[in-house]
Symmetry: C2
């Protein structure tokens, strides 16, 4: 199913964008209308005869997302948009999601669709077509990469690999997630002395190392989501997966430091892209930013984004 | 977070519906336009100046889904709609999905949204609100139950439990799936002699057995997806999870027999609902049905559905 690739390889493209901005970071857009600046929030929360609640909230999501894109596009190579926060508002929200994917790409950003999808093979194919598109199409709303859940094994991942890698796109398979209860399954001790998470890492590396999937930079279009929740486990996983770029969640509001995130990189400073979401997109809630920029929430986001870029740069020196 | 329940408990409601129809079965709607009867397929595949491709395909999905609902509603208690096949057509497809959820409920069916979602807690909350609604709302498009992926542990499942159980709705957590590569992770041998799948079963039973979540019938609003892929493992999982209703995929086109599916039931004939998708909804592709009903594809679906109901009834006697 893996055909001749079209366009530049995803990993080469992402690494070039990281070099270009000198920033191995990605802003996560997980927008909750309840936390928006009043000018966007109040109209969404006010009943209007002419619009449904889904329409009003989707309008607010779109306006906020566009503000974040304007605020960060000059500083970061990529944005990760979590579809959960859009799907909440049904078809209207999904429409806003696809519009933002288009807008972010038009602003020069690589867009990671944080969809965490997976199903048995023929259903996963539908998700892959939805988010990564047909091989030859530059369909509006098609992202540059998606996140995929590994619980079904390769049947669920393969359709995404097929769709991604032949069109210069990529996938990030969940390996070690950032949440409290992640270890309940991912941390289980296996009979061979390793853990579920390490075994998943071996599986993903096996998929990623297929020479047809590896770019000139040596990384594959198949990457992994790895939170540096546990330092030792993170270093082990980094060793297991030399061909995988890591998408690293958990920075900022989720409590992970730049120092911890640095364990996801190789000694040459490549191999990972760190995401921060709430600490950047809600920067206007923080007094330090608000004191400087008042109600100009986009400038608060820009400043928090610059701080985030600088923090990651500092630990990669 | 678990409040006082509203309405009849999900498990009591599902069991009553199964008794009422004398059918522990569920039709799965996984519709591929490419396999539709020509009268629905050709207009979708024909370019039209006035409609986008997403609009044309969503229109076909809606018409087909309505035909299936008409064909099966008298015979089965529930329908499972897989959102992947709708999401493929972006916002238009998602809109058709929610319309079909509404139509199926209006036809008296319990609707299982086969969404297989999961994310870290605050993102999972958004998915839960999208699909199970606010506690007090009878929002159009809110389903009676959803499928949830366990890879994140309870953080990802909890928001669905909270949303479901206080409003007479339910969830089915993926435990043992029906696909070829499922054992790559689910079948891993743990240090304690069990498997990942069995450990997940223990976790899910632990969540399900909370007395606040158990209905008068003794089953919880937290159930499990269990494919009878492996007979021995299935019987073990049935023992581990006495409080869980099983949603049983893999019958028909996926190769599982009624005899195998029967291992998901308790000796009293309760505890599971078996789904068949492609073998029922594409019945008009089978010569035996087409010879009797010609181009009347809905009657072919009705006949295949009756056969399916009879096959499960026979093994539960």
């Amino acid at each position: 199913m893996i055909g001749d690739p079209i366009g530049v390889h995803f990993a080469d493209r992402l690494l070039a964008a990281i070099r270009d901005k000198n920033a191995a970071v990605c802003v996560g857009l997980d927008p909750l209308v309840e936390r928006f600046p009043a000018a966007l929030r109040v109209p969404a929360q006010s009943e209007a005869r002419s619009q449904t609640a889904d329409e009003r909230f989707a309008t607010a999501l779109l306006a906020f997302g566009r503000g974040v894109i304007r605020a960060v596009a000059a500083f970061v190579p990529a944005i990760k948009i979590n579809i959960a926060f859009f799907e909440r508002y049904h078809a209207e929200g999904v429409h806003a999601y696809h519009q933002l994917v288009h807008d972010a790409q038009a602003a020069g950003l690589i867009v990671i669709g944080d969809v965490k999808r997976a199903d048995i093979g023929h259903s996963s194919t539908q998700y892959a077509l939805a988010h990564l598109g047909e091989s030859d199409a530059a369909h509006a709303g098609v992202v540059d990469a998606v996140t995929v859940n590994p619980y079904f094994g390769y049947d669920a991942v393969g359709p995404f690999v097929d769709a991604a890698c032949k069109s210069g796109r990529g996938i990030f398979v969940l390996v070690q997630t950032s949440n409290e209860s992640a270890a309940a399954i991912q941390g289980l001790a296996l009979a061979d002395g390793s853990t579920v998470c390490q075994r998943v890492a071996h599986l993903v590396e096996g998929w990623a190392a297929d020479p047809r999937l590896v770019g000139e930079c040596g990384y594959s279009c198949v990457g992994a989501v790895v939170s540096p929740r546990d330092g030792e486990s993170t270093m082990r996983v980094r060793e297991i997966m030399p061909h995988c770029l890591f998408l690293v969640p958990g920075f900022g509001a989720q409590g992970r430091s730049a120092e911890e995130a640095s364990k996801c990189f190789k000694p040459d400073g490549t191999g990972a892209i760190v995401t921060a979401s709430r600490s950047v997109i809600y920067a206007y809630e923080q007094a330090a930013h608000r004191e400087r920029f008042g109600d100009d929430w986009e400038r608060c986001v820009t400043e928090a984004c610059s701080d985030f870029v600088a923090a990651i740069r500092a630990v990669l020196r």
